[in-house]
């Protein structure tokens, strides 16, 4: 069978987000082929009126039911509750959504407040995760697939003004600024 068919089957049975590397390993196919197959599946599923959606969060992929059909889906599985977000949670999630993966000092430079407690709080709620990257000296943080699922977005790139706020000219300088002592 073709890569795309196998990929579709694996994403269907996986029941959780899968890392790109993991998918490549499972399919035992060249990275480029897997990448192309994922793009093809995105085209196949992610359109108006599709009942199945392919979510992309950084290097993770997950097949889910369309957020528009939340109520219908809840006939068959336990309803999840989003719960309110407090202002600090919301503000921190926003910066991580647009700028992740981001280190704690970078986040603090942008928000102007210590973010230790709020990061812990978001990690416990499963809305933020530490990136699995042993190369960087400082841990970096990014939002989880659960967060994306609850926003009803297919990818963070769909956030309003994503390109502008993601590659904001001051972010790079803000990141450098964290090395200064003021």
């Amino acid at each position: 069978m073709s890569v795309i068919s196998k990929l579709e089957s694996i994403l269907f049975v996986a029941s959780k987000p899968l890392f790109f590397k993991k998918i490549v390993g499972v399919l035992r196919a060249p990275e480029n082929d897997v990448k192309a197959a994922l793009e093809d599946l995105k085209l196949k599923y992610n359109h108006q009126d599709s009942g199945i959606i392919l979510l992309e969060n950084g290097a993770e992929w997950q097949m889910v039911a369309s957020p528009d059909n939340k109520e219908a889906a809840e006939n068959f599985l336990k309803a999840e509750v989003s719960g309110e977000l407090t202002r600090p949670q919301l503000e921190t999630l926003t910066v991580i959504s647009y700028c992740g993966p981001i280190t704690k000092p970078e986040l603090e430079q942008i928000r102007g407040v210590n973010c230790g407690l709020i990061i812990r709080n978001l990690l416990l709620r499963g809305l933020v995760k530490e990136k699995e990257d042993e190369a960087s000296l400082l841990p970096t943080y990014e939002v989880t697939m659960d967060y994306l699922r609850h926003l009803g977005l297919n990818t963070l790139r769909e956030l309003p003004n994503y390109d502008e706020l993601h590659k904001h000219p001051f972010i790079e300088t803000a990141k450098i600024g964290t090395q200064g002592n003021l």
């Binding site: 957020p67 528009d68 803000a174």
Partner: protein, 230 residues
């Protein structure tokens, strides 16, 4: 001017934004300079009600003082490499994320959730011990966990830095005043290594003036100041 409620702002940048909005100004260094005094009036109450956030506010307070003192003390500032974005730029950026967070909140509360499915698990006939789940693996893992859980110094380092350095400066100025009745501010700054130290010296000087330990004289603006013991 209406007082802003202390619990109504998130941190120092949020307070600055609200003060600037209240004055109907747009974000600029002039606007920052205009709200600096108001900003400082919140620090005392903050110390009582939100001591854990004091360090964050002091960081911004130091930058506001720097902006204010820069025009007065330009001659005294050592050359230093630019250490990142200006406070005004940082504030503009912060405002954009605050605006964006309101839109994210709308999405979050829209009640749209994309559900994953749960594939019925495959039954494995007999127990399989994962190759990395032996007693030795557990031991090294718990040791790593304990290293991570080791309590860290609960006080933010910045607070300590600031309070120690201002206190040290005050002490050294008092020592100096014991020995001489009069000196120039520039002399004090001779050993200053960076902007922080200049600012801290300036703060210490203001503190001594407030205590009425000293008097400060400046003949022409932007000239050196003469410090006289009372």
């Amino acid at each position: 001017m209406t007082e802003l409620k202390l619990e109504k702002f998130e941190g120092p940048l949020d307070l600055l934004l609200q003060l600037i909005d209240q004055e109907k100004l747009s974000i600029s260094e002039i606007a920052l300079s205009k709200v600096t005094e108001q900003f400082f009036s919140y620090l005392d109450r903050l110390e009582k009600n939100r001591p854990e956030q004091l360090a964050d506010f002091l960081m911004i307070a130091a930058r506001l003082i720097f902006l204010k003192s820069y025009s007065l003390l330009q001659y005294a500032m050592p050359e230093e490499e630019d250490s990142g974005p200006s406070l005004a730029d940082q504030l503009k950026l912060y405002r954009q994320y605050v605006e964006a967070s309101k839109k994210i909140n709308v999405l979050w509360n829209a009640g749209k959730i994309a559900y994953g499915r749960i594939e019925p698990p495959v039954k494995i006939k007999e127990f399989v011990l994962p190759i990395n789940a032996r007693a030795e693996n557990l031991r090294s893992m718990i040791e790593a966990l304990l290293r991570r859980l080791k309590p860290i110094d609960p006080l933010p380092k910045v607070t300590i830095d600031h309070s120690i350095s201002i206190k040290q400066k005050l002490d050294s100025f008092r020592d100096l005043l014991k020995r001489s009745k009069k000196f120039n501010f520039m002399e004090l700054l001779e050993g200053a290594k960076n902007k922080t130290e200049v600012i801290v010296s300036f703060l210490a000087l203001l503190e001594l003036a407030k205590e009425k330990t000293i008097r400060i004289k400046q003949i022409n603006s932007f000239e050196d100041m003469v410090v006289i013991k009372i």
